[in-house]
Subunit: 262 residues, 4 copies
């Protein structure tokens, strides 16, 4: 079964910031999309990776695109407010219905992630070329498969605790920075029928997405977050369930057939 990934890129720093142009001459989204294609390919997966940009977000993240996306990655930073509310809500709805979602780095402050978390997602930060070390704290997690302990990122923006998120359903990675801070850098959340993996490495001013170990984490996460092909893409149901509905053929009190609850 082909794994269909959509890589959303804000693509704004790339237009105005020389350092970013130098690191990512074709845009961060191109590097991320290429990394997913090659890493998953090397793992034997059949993948179809497309790119969606903010400039035409109504089309690039349309209802049809999302309905045909298994896993959506999201990178945004300076233009969170330019994402229309209805697109953010569309993404959230698709996550609840089963689409995997991988918010990256500064996407901690993106509209869809904040709506899904219900918290401020505040944190401490410092852009000062800290070394980051990404430590695994879950002994058997598939997202940590095949990566060293720790992953060392030579230069990175610092993200520090207290990170105002719900306690993750699974904590995969915790990072330290040369300045002394710590951060819950790899966090799994289950919401509705969707799976979310937040991964904090990846500031635009550092070549993080060129690092093979980071690419492997993204590939692992896409595999982990993909929906089950035989589970209907639809929200967990609300229904008026008459007594014994589950014995005698499921029908709601309104007579509608209950073909699916979860």
């Amino acid at each position: 079964m082909t794994l269909r990934i959509t890589v959303f890129g804000e693509n704004r720093h790339e237009k105005v910031d020389e350092r970013v142009q130098e690191l990512y001459p074709e845009g961060m989204h191109t590097t991320i999309a290429g990394a997913l294609t090659s890493t998953l390919g090397a793992l034997g997966e059949d993948v179809d990776v497309r790119v969606a940009l903010l400039d035409d977000i109504e089309e690039s993240l349309s209802e049809e695109v999302l309905a045909n996306t298994d896993v959506l990655t999201w990178w945004g930073h300076m233009a969170h407010q330019d994402v229309p509310d209805e697109v953010a809500e569309r993404v959230v709805r698709h996550v609840r219905e089963g689409m995997g979602f991988l918010p990256l780095h500064s996407a901690h402050y993106s509209k869809p992630f904040r709506l899904l978390m219900g918290t401020t997602c505040n944190l401490l930060w410092r852009n000062d070329n800290d070394e980051e070390r990404v430590w695994t704290v879950s002994g058997s997690h598939p997202i940590a498969r095949g990566v060293p302990h720790p992953i060392v990122i030579p230069g990175q923006e610092m993200y520090g605790e207290m990170f105002d998120i719900p306690a993750p359903d699974e904590q995969v990675f915790i990072s330290s920075f040369s300045g002394g801070e710590v951060f819950r850098s790899g966090c799994c959340f289950y919401r509705g029928k969707g799976r979310i993996f937040y991964f904090s490495p990846g500031d635009q001013e550092y070549p993080v997405y060129h690092q093979a170990e980071i690419q492997r984490v993204l590939a692992n996460a896409a595999l982990w977050a993909r929906p089950q092909e035989d589970r209907e893409r639809a929200a967990v149901k609300i229904a008026n369930a008459p007594r014994d509905w589950f014995r005698e053929g499921a029908r709601t009190a309104e007579g509608e057939e209950i073909t699916r609850v979860i």
Copy 2:
């Protein structure tokens, strides 16, 4: 320290529904407020319980009221949409800043609870006089203190799984119904600096809030959810934190003194 509780009541069924008028002649909010006052009083607590109604929600849940509320209980059902978005967001903000929040029964579908959860909060339901048995599944949880195992509620609306919420941070109670369904009926969530306890018993057509064991759960939950008096009521902070900020007196990169992070 006085525990300041605000009991929010929708007070709409009470105006139009004879059965509810019979069970709660002074409104469900009056029964809940009285139960909290007497049960917490009997436990030796100093409490100040006020009531807030939907009809004047802008004043009854004003910024000033919420700033002086330790724990907010919320009952609503037929008029969730009449709660203004800005009031719902104000409640959510106060929870994140430390206010306790106790959504009751059909408040699973209230605006503040859904914003805090990030999920649909869908479920199955049936209003058919089911017996509900509320079982404790956490051996030392303070919210289960002093209540029987199980609490038997002779008649109740059924709420059934799959309940589309994030996995609770602490599962206190699980209910079964005479029709066979189960429900995670007592759920703790930590969000920001606030504590949330969702408790599902309490449909308007049954005398659930008159039951002493249910009143004890509400009292226990108010004690559990109260904020710590020496913790500032403010959100977890976002700040640009210069290197060594935590050593040399905390100042942000903008020179603002960091007096508080959490």
Copy 3:
């Protein structure tokens, strides 16, 4: 990659109890092994299922057998004490090193499960032909894949809360019984590098393991619990880690090469 499963059966009720002989003429272990073989085969998996019995447990669960087992299922009831302590500890060690473990029904009281949980694993029970309904409470869990909501088991022994286990890392199923009790019937635990799924349906006096939906759960659980083929089968490491060990080639203070931490 072949999934290597060992099905441990106590095989004592089968020798003395006519009802069990009638339901499982070749032993419960044979039914379970057959169900795993056929269900996983139908799902396209390459499996190798062997049986291990209490009568020759030193050989059937030898170090060599366990080292070549990806997932161990365990059914025991009347003879938990006949499992030698060293075999129980061997199983526990292999789980910590990455082997999947599926304790079934009364294996809640088996030596390996209790050692892994650290709690009493006490519960309430009643053998009185209760109907059990197994409800899914996790919208995207692979172990709930392809099974109805709820699974209805016409007759079963009742297991009821309070079940004295650590809070499960993932709650997949919750059951109700016709007598009114509830039970956390499908529970995932991560311990060391191993994955554990406890599943409570399956008393010897009822034909539970002949039910296709139960067989599907067992197959799903085996897939979920299997170790990653590229992760070394060994415990998480304890080591004296000199400063910068992770930069300059990992060596312990004793000079031993650190080839693996997790």
Copy 4:
């Protein structure tokens, strides 16, 4: 209600190690006991702190002592094996029955903690005067009350991930070390009716327990872990529960009155 604390100290390094004698001339246990007495006293608590040493552990941690202990702190390092198995099992039993338990630093490898966790409790370590910074990651946790973010410990032994424990029920603190490692340094676990808080700062060669902020954490933890006075000190019950036992007066199938389940 007086909070009755027993401070267990191994008291072996104090006999042979000059550095430890210099830092803790009356033994580490004396410093810890004094800190708890004074800090809890300053918080307005009525406390009774006694000391128990390894040399007479059969008496100092007798059945009677434990039955009259609300919270037991445990420091041990070089003599874990000298703790008799039956004493370790006695401690574990009391925790399951409701006693609070605070294993400190190298008590991660003590017999009672390992029995309660079910895992190896392995970790990385280095005794090289690392600076440790203890960060709060739970916005409203009572154990983090009144302490700075971070607590800076000038010199400490490094404990590093992967720490082979079950995922904590509540993560309160995460530490970083000047060498770059991270560690889940403050972890809450619920087991049976007891509460466990593991806190890693406190090596014998550094004056950690003289630091006021560390003393505050210990005091907070003792308050958090204390059992509820109206909850019976006994394990969660196993019982044969006849149909309708919870309606008609609880009796087991053997006719014994069920006066307590949890």
